[in-house]
Every structure is written in C-alpha cells, then in structure tokens.
C-alpha cells in the first residue's frame, strides 16, 4: 500500500514536470494554426499565420540554413583533420589546444560576440556580411565536432590502422582520406548533427553579430515575439519546431545506437 502511494506520488510529480515542458509547446502549435487565440480553437483553424510568417520571414529561414551548412562545411574541413592531428600527436600541447578550443562552451556567447565586435566591427564589409555570423557559429560549434571525432578515435585504434597503411606505402594524405576518415564516420555524423542543430538555434552570439540585412531564424523569432501578434509568433515557432525536431530525433537515435554497440 505504502509503496503504491509513493509510486503514485512520484508518477504524479513526473507528469506535472512533463506537462510544464509540453503544455506551452502544444499551446504554441495550437496558437499557430488558430484564427484567434483569444477566442480559442473554436474560432477556426487556419494556415494564414504560417503563410504570413513565410512572407515576412522566409529570408531568415534561408539564411539560417545557409549559415548552418557553411558552419558544417568549415567545422568538417577544419575540425576533422585537427581531431586526427590532436589524437596522433597527443602530449601537452595538444591538450592545451583542446582546452582552448573548448573554452567557447564555458564563456557566454554574449562575451564572445562582444569580443568579435570590438575586434572586427570596424571591418565594414565583413561586419555587414553573413560571414561575420558564420565566424561566431564556427567558434561556438567547433569543439563539438572536434571532440565528437576524437571520441571515436579513442575507441578505434587509429595509430595501428594508420601505421599499417603507411607500411604499405600509402602517403599521409591518402591514408587520411582512405583509412582515417572512413573510420571516423560515426563521430563525424554525430558531430555534424550537433553542429547543424546548434547553428540553427543559436541566438546569444547571433543577436549581437547580425545586421538588419543578416537576420537568421532565431533573430526573426525574437523579432516576432516582440512585435507580432501571438498567432504569428506561434506559427513561426511551429516552423522552427518542424525544422529542429527531426534533427533532435536523429541525435537521440544516434546516442542510443552509440550506447547499444
């Protein structure tokens, strides 16, 4: 009896926590397709708010995808070779480099954005282009790519593979392309999902780095929260959910697969 009471109490508590997290998200989905949120769902279901968001903010969605893919490209090109090098070299210097590139995770995005603005803000052309935001996103997401790939190297015996291929006479860059990268694929995929998800949702840095002509999706969201009617803000949030949730599900599946093997 007592055990069942404790079980019921804990279940109720957990359900309340789940409701706290899910109810507002559900409200926003409903509000995004309701004629009038004030009058409730009985006022009718409509896609006019979604259409309005599309008209107003399609550019922010496109720019967010552009920046996310560019961030992914840079973190892949820079991060994967670096992860290999850091793993192969080992030693103190490699650990210091790893520490330094991980710092952006511990420092608020606001501080990094201010630092970038103070340093490069006067380079007008660069400051005004989307590349300025790209730089912020690369700094912020790089550690996820590097560490995700390094985590795989820690489980696969890269050194033996590398030296084996070398003893067969393969030059270094070919070994990297044909032996190292194929073995790092799980880490590269996990890191890529993380980088794209983080870049699509990044606000702290981006708010400081953006200009009126370089608005990303989260910037547009903040804009709509401040100045649009609740239905439009909700429809915009709905579009964001539709974009981000598949990525999140893929990440979870990946994590489970990683745990299973």
């Amino acid at each position: 009896m007592r055990d069942r009471l404790i079980f019921a109490g804990q279940l109720l508590f957990t359900l309340i926590v789940a409701a706290f997290l899910v109810v507002p998200a559900a409200l926003s989905i409903v509000a995004g397709v309701t004629m009038s949120y004030f009058r409730g769902i009985s006022s009718g279901v409509t896609l006019q708010w979604v259409a309005q968001v599309w008209n107003l903010y399609a550019g922010t969605i496109a720019l967010s995808f552009l920046i996310a893919l560019a961030t992914l490209a840079v973190t892949l090109l820079v991060g994967v070779p670096a992860a290999y090098a850091l793993h192969r070299r080992g030693g103190r210097l490699s650990r210091i480099i790893e520490e330094v590139i991980t710092l952006p995770l511990a420092i608020p995005g606001l501080a990094i954005a201010l630092a970038l603005l103070l340093t490069y803000g006067s380079f007008g052309e660069f400051r005004r282009s989307w590349l300025f935001i790209l730089v912020g996103h690369v700094v912020f997401t790089m550690p996820f790519m590097v560490r995700s790939v390094m985590a795989v190297f820690a489980t696969v015996d890269v050194r033996t593979l590398d030296e084996g291929a070398a003893s067969l006479g393969a030059p270094a860059w070919r070994r990297f392309r044909d032996v190292i990268v194929p073995n790092a694929v799980p880490g590269i995929l996990a890191g890529s999902l993380m980088v794209v998800t983080l870049s699509l949702g990044e606000f702290n840095l981006t708010w400081m780095l953006h200009t009126p002509l370089t608005k990303t999706l989260p910037i547009g969201l903040a804009d709509s929260y401040a100045s649009m009617r609740l239905e439009v803000a909700s429809a915009y949030t709905l579009i964001f959910f539709i974009m981000i949730i598949p990525l999140l599900v893929a990440m979870q599946l990946f994590a489970e697969k990683g745990r299973a093997t």
């Binding site: 997290l21 290999y84 003893s167 702290n204 999140l248």
Partner: protein, 285 residues
Amino acid sequence: MQYGASSRRGAPWLMSHKFFVRLCLLPLVVVTAAFFLLPMARLAVTGAEGPQGLAGYLAILVEPRYRATLINTVLLAAATTLVTLIVATIAGMFLQRHRFPGRAVLIAMLTFPLAFPGVVVGFMIILLAGRQGLIGDLSNRLAGQKFVFAYSIYGLFLGYLYFSVPRVILTIMAAVQKLDTGLEDAARSLGASPWAVQRDVVLPALAPAFVASGAIAFATAMGAFGTAFTLATNIDVLPMLIYTEFTLAANFSTSAALSVGLGVITWFILALARSFSGSAVAAAG
C-alpha cells in the same frame, strides 16, 4: 617496434607524416587564434580602457548597481540549480527505477525541449505566464484575478527551469542506471529505513552527477541571454546589463569588463565541477 625504429632513420613517410599532422592542425590553430584568442584578448584590453583603467574590472564588485545585479544573477542561478536538481532527481530516479506503460513517451516528453534555444524558451514562458498566458487565464477563471509574472525575474527563473530540467534529467538517469543496487539492498537488510537508504547510500553515490549537471545549470543561468531578452529587457541580470551597457549606453569598456567577469565566473564554475567530477562539462544555451 623494429620497423618503427628503422623507418625513423630512413623511410621518407615518417618525415612527411609529422609534417602532415602539423598541416592538419594548422587551420584550427589559425581559426582559433584569429577569431577567438585575438578577440578575447581585445575584450580584456578594452575592459581596462575605461576612465578608471584597470580598476574598471573592480566595478562589478564595487559599484553598487553592478554589484546588486551580480548578486541578483548569482541568486537566480543558484535557485535555478537547486530547484532543477531536486525536480530532475525525483523524476529521473522514478523513470530509471520503474517500468510501466507509457514510460518511453514520458521520457520523450521530458527531453524534447533539449534543442530549444533560449528565445523559444522565453516564448514558452510567455504562453504559460504572460498576458495571454495559460496561468493568467486559469487564475482569472478560478479566482477572478489575472496572474501574470512572465516578464519578471520569476518568469526568467521558470524559463531557466524549463531549459535545465531536460538536460539534468538525462544526466541523473544515466547516473542512477550505473548505481549498484546491491549497496541499497545491503543497507536495507541491515535495517535502514527507506529514507535512510536514500540519504546515506543513493544520494551520495549520485554526487558527481549532481556536481556536473548542477554546474552546467548554474553557468547557463548566469550567462544565458536569449530567454531574458525575450521576456523583458529590464530584468536585472548580468547578461542584460552587459547588453544594455553595450548597445544603449555604448559603454564599451564597462560592458567588456563585465563580460570578462561573467566569463571568468562561468568558466571557473565549470572548471571546478570538472576537477571534482572528472568529466568534461560545458554550458549550453
């Protein structure tokens, strides 16, 4: 071993290999130096370029207005951390220890806000406790009074809770899974009450998970900006102060000094947690 020794002398691939590894590292070093280290150095220098010079860094502690904001922010972060840990421990322990229909759905519900950025979390709080929010609506119907608190520090607290609970639940669940239930059985067989087992066996064993996930929750609540920005620009927390000093007052040196201070605090908390729990931890949001 043998071929390693001989190749070091003669084979050309080892020479080029060392060069290749350096080449692999070069882009990362260049990117990090140009777009992170150099700007951070610039930020630190700017912080000392105000009318007070280096003493500008002390303003965060000495100036009453900044100090009040700092205390406010620390209290908010501490409250967030404490409540998040309590909530996530009860829910996480329950979910890990019991199997029942619908459990997987419940876990999915508790973890899906993981990818929400701070701005979206702010909007979730507006839908809950804002002017057109659910809580105001319900309280209006039940008590005849509209209860609205989204645009205050309480709304921000709720937002940080929303943000942190999913992350911490995952950590706690993973830690509970690794617990040795034999210890609990032993304690029980020795006559310990259920509460004593929790207090003396289970909670101490979860301590590293508490420290690691608590540090992340704390650092995130100290430095996050999106949620506060969405709820109201006049909430008195450090990131909002830095933002208004920079954009509205154009007070570059103060905002730089304050953000260096904030960065040092969050970095220090996470480094402390890492040295204690032994695994890498990072702030989010």
